[in-house]
């Protein structure tokens, strides 16, 4: 298709009078991405960010529990599953390695990517965005994407300190975490996923239905430092 490539680029350059119009600000835009308008909504102290995050996530039909410290996570999950009449088999991300799952002997914990038969997936969110109650997941060996996509119930573990005001804050953290190429450009994980509430569709008579292909339930456990 190299001929198509050249033909298309030639057309574009002709249309843009590229000989007369040199590229200037486009270079610098990629080198140092400028910040655009950022809604004030997310700009708050941590306490209010957490509050905003929870409000927005609940507005998007997620449910939220707040706990202090990871120690009680297995217990909270057990309670949640019981409250929803769900079985106790869960598929858990390696990123939650510090958690003592053994403290809840009833839980049957599997690791690794999710299979079509898994009913509950538990993974750790890289960040939460207060602006819209959005979770951000980075794919990788410790956090397979299938965990938040395939099982009909997803439990997201979000550290309170990872709740940020806006998406731009999250991009800053993503860039810090990721490798760069020789020119300084960021190499993103295969999938950076923003998730705002459980899966839904309005395709049948514009009726809101939850859980079409992704999870029907999204439960977020916000973990404080306490």
């Amino acid at each position: 298709m190299s001929t198509d490539r050249e033909a298309i680029l030639r057309r574009l350059k002709t249309k843009l009078y590229r000989d007369e119009n040199p590229i200037t600000d486009a270079f610098s835009r990629l080198q140092a991405p400028p910040l655009n308008i950022i809604p004030k909504r997310g700009a708050n102290d941590l306490k209010n960010k957490v509050k905003n995050f929870i409000e927005e996530a609940e507005m998007a039909d997620a449910t939220v529990t707040k706990i202090e410290g990871l120690a009680s996570l297995p217990k909270v999950i057990t309670h949640y599953l019981a409250s929803q009449n769900l079985p106790t088999g869960i598929r858990v991300a390696d990123s939650l390695v510090d958690v003592n799952w053994g403290s809840q002997p009833l839980l049957s914990v599997k690791k690794g990517r999710a299979k079509g038969t898994d009913l509950v997936g538990v993974s750790r969110a890289f960040a939460g965005v207060a602006e819209t109650g959005t979770l951000i997941y980075l794919s990788g060996e410790e956090n397979p994407s299938t965990l938040h996509l395939l099982p009909p119930t997803h439990i997201a573990v979000l550290m309170e300190k990872d709740i940020l005001g806006n998406y731009e804050n999250a991009w800053t953290n993503v860039r810090l975490k990721c490798e760069k190429n020789a020119e300084g450009a960021t190499s993103l994980p295969r999938a950076v996923s923003w998730v705002t509430g459980p899966s839904r569709s309005g395709d049948i008579e514009q009726t809101l239905l939850l859980g079409v292909h992704g999870p029907q339930r999204l439960h977020i456990v916000v973990v404080g430092n306490g």
Binding site: I8, L9, R11, A26, N36, P144, L150, S193, V212
Partner: protein, 484 residues
Amino acid sequence: MESSAHKFKDLAFTARRDAHLQAALGKLGSGFSLKRKEAARRLPEFEGLRDQAKTIKDHVLENLDFYLERFEERVIEGGGELHWCGDADAAQKKILDICRKANAKTVTKSKSMIGEEIAINEFLEKNNIEPIETDLGEYIIQLRGETPSHIIAPAVHLNMGQVEDTFREKHTTLEPGRKLDEPQRLLEEARSQLRDKFLNADVGITGANMLIAETGSTVLVTNEGNADLTHTLPRIHIVIATLEKVVPTLEDATSILRVLARSATGQEMSVYTTFCTGPKKSKDEDGPDEYHVILLDNGRSELLGSEFQDMLRCIRCGACLNHCPVYQTIGGHAYGWVYSGPMGAVLIPALIGLDRAGDLPNASTLCGQCEAVCPMRIPLPGLLRAWRTKQFEGSEKNTLGKILLKVWVTFVKSPKLYRGAMNFILMILEIFGRKSGGFQWLPLAKGWTQSRDFPSPAGPTFVSQWKKGLLMSDQEELQKRQKK
């Protein structure tokens, strides 16, 4: 896709008499548009974000070659492949090529308007590869052999009963006794059918809402999560996208995302927004082995630098459809090709030729509601008018409408002639209309009089009356005139 845009008037006539369709369209105005209004109200920066989104895309278009070459570099660097395709044929062949090399039997697909443009499903079927649409609405219309009637709600023209009938006919394993009388039950049936398809597909084809030059990423926005399963589970991920989808940076993509869902469905953000970059990394436990981007022109480069360049800013949110009184009256299928509503009426002539879609730019009152809600501030009425100008000036052919307009213009340009002619016509109309006070039939105005009365005039023109007695009128005189 075959076009029936030349049959617009007939299709619109039928659509107006389709009771199912009319019931579905009735819900649009109170659904999407009210939700958009509320989302815009909740975000004080919304209007500023619209300006920003427009500025970003204008900047991209001025530097389209640069950003596409940068995007290409980054895709390749990330282990992906990028295929430039000039037209639908080239794209179809490339996709088939990739599928054949992978020995693919089934392909899952996440809704893509470009996929519709290049009719990829038909093409794959012809070549013995089974394409399966996974967006719920798109899945339903695929079973029915229909095309989308709305860019974000493809099955908006159907009701529950029609969906149930389709499932009963096409899902051969469905027990006759199973109840499907609620939306939730229909959803569960579709979900269970599609689960295995997701897990067993060889190739996943998605569209892209944006391409990011900075990182070589493709951005996918859905509410169902079907795009994510489509690109995560099969061995191969193919993205089909047109040139104008590229944006410079992650921040720029973010700004546009802030107006996309709000304009489309009134959500603060769609449920799933995923930035896909390359195939799976060496230690990843899931994700595809191959990542291909089909970068398609299909007429876009022709629009660049033309009077229709603004249309290349479109992000396919559907707001112009949701707010268009014409769309709400006739639905999407009447437009006859992939797109519909105001954006379709501008884009379709550009992509398939004005001569094959001549009605579309004319079938609008230019009420301006589309431009008022367009997140990218595309001057849609102005672009529709620009097509009319091309039609009027570009063709030697004299239609009846054109001749009548020319005659009218001749009079309008000459005030004395105009006044005389108007007074003559008014006199005639007054004589014929005196009794009833209105007309139920008038020559050359059947479009009006078939459903509306036309008033009978009450005398000579205002200007003539004014000239006669009231050139330097005083109030009293005027009032007398009023009360005559």
